[in-house]
């Protein structure tokens, strides 16, 4: 099985983000980066499929030079080779632009399966994978927790709301966007990192790929979330207060 995993490098979850001077994105200086979480699960699913059925796992990632570190991490965890789409202006592209870039890099590979994370931890659009499928003209399914190869194609488990799941069948090639939590992630090992040094990373640019489309969606600005505290004191006897609390948890917060 020939599998491509599209991965994205995002600011580390613990990073303390500040808005940059232009007010249109976060300040990137001093930020630590990591592999997007659901992409890590997409990679894990790909590696497990390869371990079961053989084949090859190739990661593809676009971005500035720092992306190289995340690519090496993916190679260390077991991907066979990588395609690095060098691009310093990724921020000015919309989801369609990024999907077109990735599609152009993936197309010549003729993969059986393309996996990517459900959404990124920074922008959280959840669109790139789905648009990628459209651009490539392939069937797709989103929110996937588990993939199984069958005689004719794939059987996948989708997550629905409120603990419901859906099992669907797809032909290959196909694009799947993977939900976090379906597998146990493997840890990076010293041997993996050492072995990754000799694995192939092919570098391409947007102009090599012949993709140059102006964005249709423009980022107007980003703002920090407003902190607000609204404490309500529930009065009365303990019994009345408890009843009022249950009422609120049930109908206002809707957690019960």
């Amino acid at each position: 099985m020939k599998i491509i995993v599209a991965i994205k490098q995002v600011p580390e979850r613990d990073a303390q983000v500040r808005i940059n001077a232009a007010g249109k994105w976060i300040e990137e200086v001093d930020l630590q980066y990591a592999l997007n979480e659901s992409d890590a699960y997409a990679l894990e699913e790909a590696l497990q499929l390869k371990e079961k059925h053989g084949g090859e796992v190739t990661v593809v990632s676009a971005g500035p030079e720092r992306v190289g570190q995340t690519i090496r991490e993916a190679l260390a965890k077991g991907a066979d080779r990588a395609i690095y789409v060098a691009s310093n202006d990724l921020g000015s592209r919309d989801a369609l632009g990024v999907a077109r870039l990735l599609a152009a890099a993936i197309q010549p590979e003729n993969p059986d399966l393309i996996l990517t994370g459900l959404q990124s931890e920074d922008l959280g659009l959840g669109q790139t994978g789905v648009i990628l499928a459209e651009v490539l003209g392939l069937p797709h399914a989103s929110l996937i927790l588990h993939v199984e190869k069958t005689e004719t194609g794939l059987t996948v488990k989708r997550e629905l709301e409120e603990g419901w799941f859906q099992t669907i069948e797809l032909p290959t090639p196909a694009v799947l966007t993977i939900q976090s939590g379906g597998n146990k992630l493997r840890y990076a090992t010293l041997m993996g990192i050492k072995r990754a040094k000799i694995k192939e990373v092919r570098q391409v640019t947007a102009s090599d790929l012949g993709v140059d489309v102006p964005p249709v969606v423009l980022m107007e600005g980003v703002t920090m979330p407003h902190k607000q505290k609204s404490t309500q004191m529930l009065g009365g006897s303990p019994k009345e207060a408890a009843a009022a609390l249950v009422e609120k948890l049930k109908f206002e917060v809707r957690v019960l």
Partner: protein, 624 residues
């Protein structure tokens, strides 16, 4: 005076056939000894070189050799009675070197100790005294092994040891008996032959049994890796720890062969004492069996048939085994080496371990919490931020920064520092020192954490660190060295002990028992300082196992993060010992011990003593 006492009888002349027979038997004995011993020596020499081994400074080696081998200090100190019996046997063997050489030379008429001469007579008497003590000693050891049967010697009786004991006894008895016969009679000749045959039987048995330590352990005490529980750096791009035979270094192979199987390591092991699979003696013997069957060039995995992965990951790295070992086996580097082999190649799969690694790959602390939690704590306690002007950087560590109980310790210690007028600050950003992943064998993650922290400390121009966590102290001072020069670091017990005269003594008759944390005691040799501090709060009492023999809380070696243990919990066993001292207060000096005992004491019920860190005990006496 000497002249009227009998002297050693020896046969006056030997016939040619006797000479030939003796020469042939001696050659066969030596050949038989060398046949196996040479093969063992080859296996050791063919093992990988220890690239980090340095012979110098040699003075400590000479001292260790004198103290531990010649004086038998450790053998006697840690097990006084059997230790003394062993020492007598050892000293007798030393004294007998000359006697035995002369004994053999006599057969060819070239004996150099004349039993009638003054020096030889005196020497023979001294040797006789040793022989007497040795015979008594070996008899005692025989009784211990075959009648008393302490369980640490193993379930199976070692008949080899019985045979060896018998041979040693016969050697001594025949030597002593020769004082009571005359040269001329046949008795002297019979005694000579019995002594000789015993000797020639004994020699080839040495490499076949644990008595190999007679030959090897003096060398190995001298050639120890140095330091305590020192984890050697990996050598080159293809070294992932102890994966297969080819990774065994000469020191590891040497240690595997000279284990005397005394079981002291197992007797003191917290895992072995709470019904777990791990038995440190068996780990060493597993490596020996591997070397015997597969040799040092094999690519068969070390974990599997000969040693169990499960057992290796039950070690708390408390170091009790290594501390106790009378022949200088370094168990901790071997156990951690086997873990490295499993983790660095991805062979170890463990739900909790994987979670810990991922938490530290993606985040900053072993507890897997957001650093914002640490920020909130710093803000709430108004801890000053380190800006280069203060004397100390107060290192919080994962427990001090994120664990509720650890935070109480930090807060108390901050009060003590404030009271003493010491300037300090905490870092805005801090990552786990890497202690749990270092001990679990994840070198990649450890390197990343060490390098990131070293960079932060350099940027902040930190010169001196003080911390409440002995694991942080050890890791910063010893383990980070591989990746840079760490700042000076000390444990808060050492800091407070320096100012003990300025800290208020609490007028209290409270009985306080201090629990020695492994990483402060055995790892750092700090025993008196925390006691001085704890004594401010009341009257100190001691647990039966204390100082060097302190029993682990169960948290070390990354085990605090590996979930529920098999068998009895180590922390419960230790907590019960501390409770049994009748103390009203248990004084701890490590946030990991603290958290382990907190859970263990909660299980003992209402009457449990209170549990406080020495910083909390000290802060209690400070004016509000």
């Amino acid at each position: 005076m000497i002249a009227i006492l009998p002297t050693l009888a020896e046969p006056q002349s030997f016939s040619l056939s006797e000479k030939l027979l003796f020469a042939a038997l001696a050659m066969a004995s030596v050949y038989s000894f060398w046949n196996l011993f040479g093969r063992i020596l080859n296996k050791i020499l063919q093992s990988k070189k220890d690239s980090s081994f340095r012979l110098f400074p040699i003075t400590k080696r000479i001292w260790d050799f004198f103290w531990e081998v010649l004086c038998q200090a450790k053998v006697v100190r840690e097990r006084p009675l059997p230790g003394l019996a062993h020492a007598f046997v050892f000293w007798a063997f030393c004294a007998f070197a000359l006697v035995t050489l002369n004994h053999c030379a006599v057969a060819f008429g070239i004996g150099f100790l004349n039993p009638a001469g003054e020096f030889a007579r005196l020497y023979f008497y001294v040797a006789a005294a040793f022989a007497f003590a040795c015979a008594a000693g070996i008899l005692g050891l025989f009784v211990r092994r075959f009648l008393v049967r302490p369980k640490w010697l193993g379930e199976q009786l070692s008949y080899q040891s019985g045979v060896i004991a018998l041979l040693i006894f016969v050697l001594m008895a025949t030597y002593l008996a020769a004082f009571f016969v005359t040269d001329a009679g046949p008795d002297a000749r019979i005694l000579w032959w019995v002594h000789t045959l015993t000797l020639l039987t004994f020699l080839p048995l040495i490499p076949h049994t644990k008595h190999l330590h007679l030959v090897l352990s003096p060398a190995t005490v001298f050639l120890s890796r140095g330091g305590f529980a020192q984890i050697p750096p990996l050598a080159g791009d293809e070294d992932f720890g102890l994966v297969a035979g080819a990774d065994l270094t000469q020191l590891v192979s040497l240690q595997a062969y000279y284990c005397v199987e005394c079981g002291r390591c197992t007797e003191h092991c917290p895992a072995a004492n709470t019904g777990k699979l791990l038995n440190p003696k068996e780990i060493i013997l597993g490596v020996r069996a591997y070397l015997n069957n597969l040799g040092p060039a094999s690519d068969q995995p070390l974990l599997g048939k000969y040693n169990s992965q499960e057992a290796v990951f039950q070690c708390t790295t408390c170091g009790a085994c290594e501390f106790q070992c009378p022949v200088g086996i370094e168990h901790v580097p071997i156990l951690v080496g086997l873990r490295r082999g499993a983790v660095n190649t991805g062979a170890w799969e463990d739900e909790h371990g994987g979670k810990l690694f991922l938490a530290l790959e993606r985040g900053s602390n072993a507890l897997g919490l957001s650093p914002a939690e640490r920020d909130k704590f710093i803000e709430k306690q108004a801890l000053p931020i380190f800006d280069g002007t203060q004397e100390y950087c107060l290192w919080l560590g994962c427990m001090g920064g994120y664990d509720p109980k650890g935070r109480e310790i930090v807060t108390a210690f901050a009060r003590v520092m404030k009271f003493l007028g010491t300037s300090y600050g905490v870092l805005r950003k801090e990552k786990c020192t890497g202690d749990p992943v270092r001990r679990l064998g994840n070198d990649l993650l450890f390197q990343q954490l060490a390098e990131a922290n070293l960079e932060t400390l350099a940027q902040n121009k930190v010169k001196k660190i003080v911390t409440i966590c002995p694991h942080c102290v050890r890791t910063i001072q010893e383990d980070w060295k591989e990746y840079g020069a760490p700042p000076q670091v000390e444990h808060h017990s050492e800091f407070m002990a320096r100012y003990v005269d300025k800290l208020p003594k609490q007028p209290s008759e409270e009985k306080v028992v201090f629990h020695d944390p492994c990483y402060l005691g055995r790892y750092r040799n700090v025993y008196d300082e925390p006691r001085k501090v704890a004594a401010l709060a009341g009257d100190l009492v001691e647990a039966p196992r204390n100082k060097e023999r302190s029993f682990c809380c169960g948290a070390g070696g990354g085990l605090a993060f590996l979930g529920e243990e098999d068998g009895e919990r180590v922390s419960h066993k230790r907590a019960a010992e501390l409770v049994a001292t009748g103390a009203q207060t248990i004084a701890a000096a490590c946030p990991f011990c603290n958290t382990m005992f907190r859970d263990a004491l909660a299980a003992t019920g209402e009457s449990a003593p209170q549990l406080l860190d020495i910083a909390q005990l000290t802060a209690r006496g400070l004016p509000e």
